[in-house]
């Protein structure tokens, strides 16, 4: 059985080694098997490993793929990865940007500043080549492995069959030494947009395919372009229908050229043709090295259900968006954040499996739909599908050059923000009168500075699945436990901390929040309420 790599590796980080599992007469049972060692699979493995859940990652390659690919990482995934212990090197290496400029033909039509809100540990966005992002996660995986965390990664282990046996999943794995089988209590498919596991189970993956394609060129140059995001509609160079310029670390710029649906891939990817486009854009006299180039087409699709029985899907395997808005990898990390604590509680026997897995579907489908809606709208604006759509698009751009009112209509991508799980079955109705809308039940907790640290550093629980009671200017018991779960209790005062007041109290004098291990609000009240026990039960899938 030969292994043809589907892509070139940037780093061979987990070369194939024969595992003792392969020689045992009966399949070994693992609590969780993850299919796919990309950023989503590894983030989930890290999260579960930290929680003490035995994890086995099976990847049909032996390391990290080449190419800058998902280049923009948003604040929320960085906060999540910080809890898992690997965001600091990403931010150190990454490029922080706030200024965006939009051009139409020859003219700059306007400039915006993301003006990130004060008082957050992480910036709104960093740009970082995906291999660095993956390497930072993997370094943390290795660090945990050295510390004895039950986390294994197996390269050149290709999953060829998956069979849900009711009380476990039987997985058939192909290796250079032939096939073997393992069992999983749960299997999570993080095997990307063309998920083989999804195909094996014949599960739906439907949506919209866009008839356009983009050429990416990563170029290294010492040029003096500022650290900004530049987006051109109808660029004057004629080098594409639209183009995007983004700064990455190592003096590398990422340029995306819209080249149309009918483009000849092989022809376009020839080095001289890529160089010609780049030169048209940055100027004939600017010296540059071509680092990497690729062509992508895109679609907005999702599965009808994100899990079936004991097989669960996360990241691009479950949902795919167009790249505008950086909602792919960013939303995948939010999937794993949502799933890890739920699997931990299910495997511990603390929470019922099906209701909690259903809540994963409900919450992350809600997130996927929001991402698909936003990225579809951006795509319709950037690559109008009809003559009239193009007429309106150009009308917006013409007006935006002169009139501020039209600028909010310009859509070159609405950048990824985490979604609020409104309507989630895990939420308890809001009982904080006058409380801020942004921290209503279902919301991700916004960060706040606290005497030299940050609130998010204290909320959530990477090493378990602990809920927190957050009391702000309110009396709460020293300890609180219910449904077999001991909650953390944090007491704060908003006196002298206006950001805490504005983000968590609003018009209320005090508040008590019940916060999930993934830092989403489950419930809130004006003061200590015995209903906290019922709210906790509801938040772990037991009827409240």
């Amino acid at each position: 059985m030969s292994f043809q790599d589907r892509y070139t590796l940037a780093y061979k980080t987990y070369p194939y080694e024969k595992s003792p599992d392969q020689d045992l007469p009966a399949p070994v049972r693992h609590p969780v098997v993850i299919v796919g060692g990309g950023p989503i699979g590894m983030a989930l493995a890290l999260d579960l490993g930290l929680k003490g859940v035995g994890v086995l990652v099976l990847d049909d390659h032996e390391g990290i793929g080449m190419g800058s690919r998902a280049v923009c990482y948003a604040k929320r995934p960085l906060e999540i990865l910080d809890r898992l212990g690997c965001a600091a090197p990403m931010v150190d290496k990454g490029v922080v940007w706030n200024i965006g400029k939009v051009f139409h033909k020859d003219d700059q039509i306007y400039e915006f500043n993301l003006l990130p809100e004060e008082g957050h540990k992480f910036p709104a966005f960093i740009n970082l080549q995906q291999p660095y992002f993956e390497m930072d996660i993997l370094n943390r995986v290795h660090e945990l492995q050295a510390g004895g965390v039950p986390l294994q990664v197996r390269g050149k282990n290709r999953v060829d069959a998956v069979e849900d046996k009711g009380d476990h999943v039987l997985v058939t794995v192909m290796t250079p030494d032939g096939p073997y089988q393992v069992e999983a209590e749960y299997l999570v498919a993080c095997d990307g947009a063309n998920s083989a596991v999804r195909a094996m189970l014949g599960m739906d993956f439907t949506g919209e395919v866009f008839k356009d394609s983009f050429l990416i060129a990563d170029v290294r140059m010492k040029a003096d372009f500022p650290t900004e995001r530049w987006f051109w509609f109808d660029p004057p160079s004629g080098s594409g229908d639209s183009q995007l310029l983004h700064k990455q670390p190592d003096d590398v710029w990422r340029i995306d050229f819209q080249i149309g649906w009918g483009a000849d891939r092989a022809e376009e990817l020839k080095e001289e043709n890529v160089r010609r486009r780049v030169a048209q854009m940055i100027g004939e006299d600017v010296e540059f090295d071509l680092v990497w180039s690729s062509i992508y087409t895109f679609q907005c699709k999702r599965m009808t259900e994100f899990h079936r029985g004991r097989v669960i899907f996360a990241g691009d395997a479950a949902h795919q968006v167009s790249p505008f808005g950086a909602r792919g990898a960013n939303s995948g990390v939010q999937d794993t954040d949502n799933l890890a604590w739920k699997l931990k509680l299910i495997l511990d026997g603390t929470a019922p499996a099906e209701p909690l897995l259903k809540s994963y579907d409900a919450e992350r489908i809600h997130g996927a739909d929001e991402n698909i809606r936003n990225s579809t709208r951006a795509t319709d604006f950037i690559t109008p599908k009809s003559e009239v759509s193009k007429i309106f698009r150009d009308a917006v751009l013409a007006l935006a050059a002169k009139h501020d009112f039209a600028r909010p209509l310009v859509n070159s991508g609405r950048l990824s923000v985490p979604c609020t799980y409104d309507g989630s079955p895990l939420n308890t109705p809001d009982a904080l009168k006058g409380g801020p809308d942004r921290t209503r039940p279902g919301s991700p907790c916004p960060d706040v500075p606290l005497d030299g640290s940050y609130l998010l550093e204290r909320l959530g629980d990477a090493r378990g699945a602990r809920f927190q009671i957050l009391a702000i200017d309110a009396e709460v018991p020293e300890r609180f436990a219910a449904h077999g779960l001991e909650c953390g209790v944090i007491r704060l005062s908003a006196a002298g901390n206006e950001m805490l007041r504005e983000r968590y109290l609003g018009a209320a004098k005090g508040a008590v929040y019940l916060i999930r291990p993934d830092q989403h609000v489950a419930a809130r009240w004006a003061g200590w309420d015995e209903a906290a026990a019922a709210a906790l039960g509801r938040a772990i899938g037991k009827e409240g």
């Binding site: 009239v388 007429i391 309106f392 150009d394 009308a395 917006v396 013409a398 007006l399 009112f405 039209a406 209509l409």
Partner: protein, 62 residues
């Protein structure tokens, strides 16, 4: 229906209609289409109300 004013609201309808037609004089079809699109966007912003715009879109279906 509720947000959109569908009662007679123009004091001098012939004048206003004339302004509209006049604005298109000398324009090619392409220029007129672009002009109309800009005009719609300007008026839409003036209306400012999502519900009223939704009603107008429904009404325009005839």
């Amino acid at each position: 229906m509720g947000m959109l004013n569908t009662t007679r609201n123009l004091a001098a309808p012939d004048d206003v209609y004339d302004m509209l037609i006049h604005a298109h004089e000398g324009k090619t079809k392409e220029e007129s289409d672009a002009f109309n699109a800009r005009l719609i966007l300007i008026l839409m912003n003036h209306v400012g109300d999502r519900e009223a715009i939704a009603e107008a879109l429904a009404l325009a279906e005839v």
